[in-house]
């Protein structure tokens, strides 16, 4: 459309410059239906950024009203302008730009009281938002009524009742917005939500103290800063303390009670709610009780002290089962169709390097990306259902205590549990966490959750080296794995808490029926997001690893296999011939493999890995393990193949496979791999690195290559450290065998249990033992406080 105008000439181009293009900043509390309103107004999203706060923290969309273009900026949800998280900081920063443009404050009509705090804060610093009273239908259904005209008069803001889910009211709203009145509120205009005289006077003094302009001449963010300084408790600035004292005296006179100068933050918050209360009681009838009897009954059952957990576990089991068992069916179809495609192109294309690259690198690579889709879609279907219905908050409420030990929010349980099935959808599921730090921490910890792809290595090697009790060996590995994860989370939490006290609060929204439309939108977004963003990374990685495995094409061989085969053909015949040829071919395969880049890299790193007791074969097998952990087994098989007496490959009966397995064991034992070393190798395989698909999603979801690299380095170092320690402990006991494993397992189990018991008892936590109002105690409990201020 703009193009057409441009083609007409300069005049119309100027029109757009003169302000046909209007920016509208959307802000509101989390859960106020802001995003559904945004979707209802703009229809299709033009630009879907990452989840709020990841890299692009604003989502923009456009709407054309009578030839004027409204471009909407959807800011992350915020309870208050005073930021408690990086997301909310973004909201505050944007307000520095927004006051010259337009601000749309989405207010949940069914939760007016708390939602209007943000409105009050905006008006205090001179930003006049347009108010969308959202969820107006449920407000009316609850029996609420409101005098919109009076409300508009008292607040000085235009008010529009809207319903985000249906789009009701959005047409009138956008027509008003198209008029383009800016949000700047003239300082002489006062509303019922504006800052009281005493406060504004004091804030102006703070502004002037710091060499700023008068209140009227200052910009909103400067005003905001002055209020923050006024309510702060840092007493190092004497002049500021004096202003506070004067304000406290002024307030004491007006309020007719003692106001302490160190309690101004509390006074201001109370005053805000007093003003909000004034407006609400004058304009509206809000029903006393928001929760219906049905809601309470549901809560009684779903969060019941005894039934709550079993119900939660059942639901989780259902989510898990459908995601991974049902999800397996379409996954097999996808795998089969890609295998068919690969076969098809192999036959059609002329043999050569390009065909190999296309089939083995590209088609298999794309296949390895697409194969995750069923898991991701099913999991997100459930997440959307649980989230929209309101059950997610209840579940988080119940398991919060368990997650807290790892420094995680109760909501992080879904990603962590799903990690057992596959880390890739689990990392994507971290999006349900609002807090950036929480999201990063769970992304970092998820790869420590043993996914099903790591099982083949464990099953195979445990079977070979611990034939008496493979299950116990695996259990011990899991226990050590979990121990590492819990301890790591715990320490990061302790370390990070000193820096950012993420406030815990879990809003319990009313139970609702999810709409199919919102489900569909979410699933579509997730699928595209994964394919386009993570998919490209995974594909690139797959191709790179394939190249390493396939090049150089020609490896100089130690002797002429062809001539040897020809020689055998003349001297031997029958079975002897075929087995001799087979042996030769195997030797050729391994020699070729040794010549490829991947083996060269493995051998290059061998000195690093040698202290862990690995031979170069183990080291090399770990590299393709980056592609998918299952391949560790197959590479080990190939590398040890010539050393084992070859099993007849034509017979693929279970016994034959069994024979091959023990042969691999023999070969490994001959190379000096003891049960201890095998155990250490399995431990290392569990911990050393997540597969490339996981790395791809972590990169995309975190939006930070530095973070991703750092986590990879961490994993490697942790794996190395833990493996090395295990090896040394094992070597200290020369009789290391199953007994040693049992001992380690029991140790880990005892540690976890003791942690769990302590967590449940709730002892040793600063907040619990601390009497809340004793500042001396707090100084001990939270020594980091001072750093904060």
């Amino acid at each position: 459309m703009t193009k057409q105008k441009d083609s007409k000439g300069v005049v119309s181009a100027e029109e757009t410059l003169q302000g046909e293009h209007r920016k509208v900043y959307l802000l509101g509390n989390p859960n106020c239906g802001k995003t559904s309103l945004f979707n209802a107004i703009t229809g299709e999203r033009l630009h879907v950024g990452n989840w709020p706060g990841v890299t692009v923290s604003r989502i923009e969309g456009r709407k054309d009203v009578d030839g004027k273009i409204l471009s909407f900026v959807d800011l992350p949800g915020a309870y208050s302008l005073t930021p408690a998280s990086p997301e909310e900081k973004i909201v505050l920063q944007n307000m520095g730009l927004a006051w010259n443009e337009q601000v749309l404050n989405v207010v949940d009509a069914s939760n007016l009281n708390r939602n209007l705090l943000l409105t009050a804060q905006l008006l205090e610093i001179g930003i006049r938002p347009v108010i969308a009273l959202n969820c107006f239908d449920s407000f009316s259904a609850m029996g609420g009524t409101i005098d919109l005209k009076l409300f508009s008069n008292m607040t000085g803001c235009e008010v529009f009742p809207t319903v985000g889910r249906t789009g009701d009211g959005t047409v009138v709203l956008s027509e008003y917005l198209a008029q383009g009145k800016t949000a700047a509120l003239p300082s002489e205009e006062r509303t019922c939500l504006s800052l009281p005289e005493e406060w504004q006077k004091a804030a102006e003094k703070v502004l002037l103290l710091n060499g700023g302009k008068s209140w009227a001449a200052s910009e909103p963010l400067a005003r905001y800063d002055s209020i923050v300084k006024l309510t702060g408790r840092d007493t190092s600035d004497e002049k500021l303390t004096l202003v506070r004292r004067e304000l406290a005296e002024d307030l004491s006179k007006t309020l007719n009670r003692e106001v302490r100068e160190d309690n101004l933050a509390s006074e201001l918050a109370a005053d805000r709610y007093r003003r909000i209360g004034c407006v609400i009681s004058a304009t509206s009838q809000v029903p006393e009780k928001q929760m219906t009897p049905l809601h309470e009954k549901l809560d009684d059952v779903l969060t019941h002290r005894f039934w709550g957990f079993p119900i939660f576990l059942l639901i989780m089991a259902l989510v898990f089962w459908t995601t991974f068992s049902i999800g397996n069916i379409p996954m097999e179809w996808i795998e089969n169709s890609f295998a068919w495609l690969a076969e098809f192109f192999k036959n059609v294309l002329p043999k050569g390097l390009l065909a190999d690259l296309f089939v083995e690198g590209l088609i298999n690579g794309v296949g390895s990306v697409v194969v995750f889709l069923p898991n991701i879609l099913i999991l997100f279907f459930w997440i959307a259902l649980l989230e929209d219905s309101g059950y997610m908050s209840r579940a988080a409420f119940m398991v919060d205590r368990l997650m807290e030990g790892m420094g995680l929010h109760g909501r992080a349980f879904i990603p962590m549990i799903m990690g057992v099935g596959c880390n890739v959808p689990a990392v994507m599921a971290t999006r349900i966490l609002d807090d950036k730090f929480q999201r990063y921490l769970s992304m970092f910890l998820i790869p420590f959750v043993t996914c099903s792809a790591r099982l083949p290595v464990l099953v195979l090697l445990s079977g070979i080296f611990f034939p008496q009790n493979p299950a116990l060996c695996m259990f011990t590995l899991f226990a050590i794995n979990i121990l590492v994860m819990v301890l790591l989370g715990h320490f990061i939490h302790i370390f990070a808490e000193a820096k950012s006290p993420a406030p815990f609060m879990l809003e319990m929204p009313p139970y609702r029926f999810p709409t199919p439309k919102s489900l569909w939108n979410l699933l579509k977004d997730k699928a595209l997001d994964f394919l386009v963003k993570a998919g490209t990374v995974v594909l690139a990685g797959t191709v790179v690893i394939w190249v390493l495995q396939a090049f150089p094409r020609q490896v100089p061989l130690s002797f002429d296999y062809k001539a040897e085969v020809a020689a055998y053909e003349q001297t031997l015949d029958g079975e002897e011939l075929s087995s001799a040829i087979q042996e030769l071919e195997q030797r050729k395969t391994i020699e070729e493999l040794e010549g490829r880049y991947i083996a060269k890299i493995g051998k290059f790193f061998q000195p690093v890995m040698a202290p862990l007791g690995f031979t170069w074969r183990e080291t090399v097998s770990l590299i393709p393990g980056f592609l998918a952990k299952e391949t560790v087994v197959s590479v080990l098989n190939i590398l040890y193949m010539p050393m084992s007496s070859p099993a007849d490959s034509e017979e693929l009966s279970p016994e034959a496979e069994q024979a091959q397995v023990t042969d691999l064991g023999d070969a490994m034992r001959k190379n000096g791999i003891t049960p201890l070393k095998a155990f250490v190798f399995m431990l290392f395989t569990l911990l050393y690195i997540p597969c490339i698909a996981t790395v791809g999603v972590v990169w995309r979801e975190s939006g930070s290559a530095a973070f991703t690299l750092l986590t990879l380095l961490c994993y490697f170092m942790i794996a190395y450290g833990v493996s090395f320690a295990t090896l040394k402990i094992g070597q200290a006991d020369p009789t290391f065998n199953e007994l040693g494993v049992i001992f380690l397992g029991l140790l880990a189990l005892a540690f976890i249990l003791s942690k769990l018991v302590r967590a449940i008892k709730g002892s040793g936590r600063p907040g619990a033992a601390c009497s809340g109002n004793c500042s001396a105690c707090h100084a001990v409990c939270a020594p980091s406080e001072d750093e904060l201020n």
Binding site: A265, S266, Y273, F397, F504, E507, A768, L788
Partner: protein, 82 residues
């Protein structure tokens, strides 16, 4: 009828009180104030999680779950009717 000052964390399920004050030294104080936990606000403890923590509260017409570390920084006035 007498009133007694307790920590919010000490309220049993179903008990009601009025917020007395908030420990401003607590790192989450500002957030709690913004959410409407200001002196004079009625609050009710609704239910405890199976492991005793967190606890949900009703305040200003909405429900919110707080951990003990947060609810220990809030003092409430509770009236005894016996």
């Amino acid at each position: 009828m007498t009133t007694e000052i307790k920590l919010l964390a000490e309220l049993d399920e179903g008990m009601e009180g009025v917020i007395h004050n908030i420990d401003l030294d607590s790192p989450t104080a500002q957030r709690l104030l913004d959410l409407g936990f200001v002196p004079g606000t009625p609050i009710k403890a609704l239910r405890k999680a199976p492991m005793g923590d967190p606890v949900t509260y009703r305040i200003r017409g909405y429900e919110v779950g707080l951990r003990k570390s947060e609810s220990s920084s809030i003092a409430v006035e509770v009236s005894d009717n016996d």
